[in-house]
Every structure is written in C-alpha cells, then in structure tokens.
Subunit: 110 residues, 2 copies
Amino acid sequence: MGVTKTERFTDSQNELALFAKALGHPARVAILEFLLKTDKCICGDIVNELPLSQPTVSQHLRALKEADLIRGNIEGTAICYCINPEPFKKFRAVVGAFIKEYSNNPTNCC
Amino acid sequence: MGVTKTERFTDSQNELALFAKALGHPARVAILEFLLKTDKCICGDIVNELPLSQPTVSQHLRALKEADLIRGNIEGTAICYCINPEPFKKFRAVVGAFIKEYSNNPTNCC
DNA sequence: TTTATTTATCGTAATATTGCAATCAATTAA
DNA sequence: TTAATTGATTGCAATATTACGATAAATAAA
C-alpha cells in the first residue's frame, strides 16, 4: 500500500537500498559531486549551482542529511554543508562491496 | 509537480541517478543479489525467495528490466531471468567511478 | 530597532511508488 | 479440448516524492 516492507528484508539490503535511494535523483547526485569536487566546505550557494528553487534544493539537502551523507554547520547567517566523512566512507564501502562481491558476471546467460 | 526535471542535469548525473533509483528498494537489491549469487539463470522462483506477492515481484522485475540491469527469456511456460551482463558492467563502471573519483574524503570539515 | 540575508518550513498540486487481489495471456500437460 | 501452470497486466488504495510560492526563523548589518 505504498509503503516499503522494510522489516521483511535484511539489514544490509535495506542499508544499500537507502543509500541508493539517496542517490536516486540527479539533483542529489549533483549536490554530492559539487561537495566532493570542492573538497572543502562551501556554503549555501549550492542553490546557485542547481537549476531548482531554493526550497527544492533545501529539500534535497535534507534527504541527503537524513541518509547521513552530508551535514550542515551554522556559520553566521549561512549554513556550511559538507560531506559527512565517516558515513560517506561507509556508503562507499557498502556500495563498493556490492559491485565487487559479484564481479564475475555470468557470460552464458539464458 | 512531482516530476523530476531530468533535462536540467547532465547525462552522467541522470545515468547514475537512474541506476541508483533501480537499487533504491530492498526487494530489488534482493533480486539482484539472488541473480548474482546463483551465477546462472534461474527461473521465476524469485517470487518464492521474496516476501512479496507475485504481482509485486513482477513489478520490481520490470523496474530492473527498465533499468536494463536484468533481462528475461521465455522458456516454455516459465521465464528465465538473469543479469544483463553488458549493461550491468556499465552500471558497475558508473557507480565505481563515482565512489572512486572522489576517494579523497575531506578531513577538515566545517 | 529596522532591514537584509540566508535557509528552513508550510501548504499545496502533480506525479510516482508500493503493494495486492483479480484477471488475463501463453504455454504445457492430461 | 480442457485443466494446470506461469508470469504479466489491470485496477485500486495508500503513501511517497518532486517542485515551488509564501512565509517563518535566525542572524548580521545599518
């Protein structure tokens, strides 16, 4: 009925799915790329980088924050967003494990 | 308006987002894991592996097929699903590039 | 205090997703 | 042909997502 049956899957399946879901919108990919590329904390001019309104960007930032991939620190009147290093490392590990664990693609498929 | 503004983002951002979206549900993670683990084509008993009804599983299979990650071949009265090797390789490359390209996590965050 | 500036939140509309019962379509077995 | 099997599709309900205008909340500047 429109709600995912999380409890019926394993923790690791849910973990990977949540990370993937956070990356499942180009705006959020763009935000992460931007934060990663600058390699330093930048402030809310993420809005200027994206072709979306300020409330919409704020919403995507919240989604990434809820996935624990980024964090924001208040800095005067602005907010400084950046990659959340440890959780991001975890993200990389989880995704990396998935694409590596089964690196033997089937060649003779049905 | 509920609809993603795809045309405002780059191809590579959209590509990664689409792959991620396909992985953004634990059932679809489970299906891929199952198909990868068996390392050979199995038939529609995926339904028995998952805690979801047959129509729901069929829906998730379609989502994965639309993302080009799997494919199905008719085999008598059953359908044989398997990883779609080449596109899956591409998926691995795209995701791998993202998590590798920026492997220098910022240490001194705001 | 008043005014900017910055970002979050609220409210709303449009659309998408998730899930399943019922049913259909195609093939196989009897 | 008739029945069984397999999987897709339809139709529906519940919920989630995407987007943005309007507004609020917080701080800084005048």
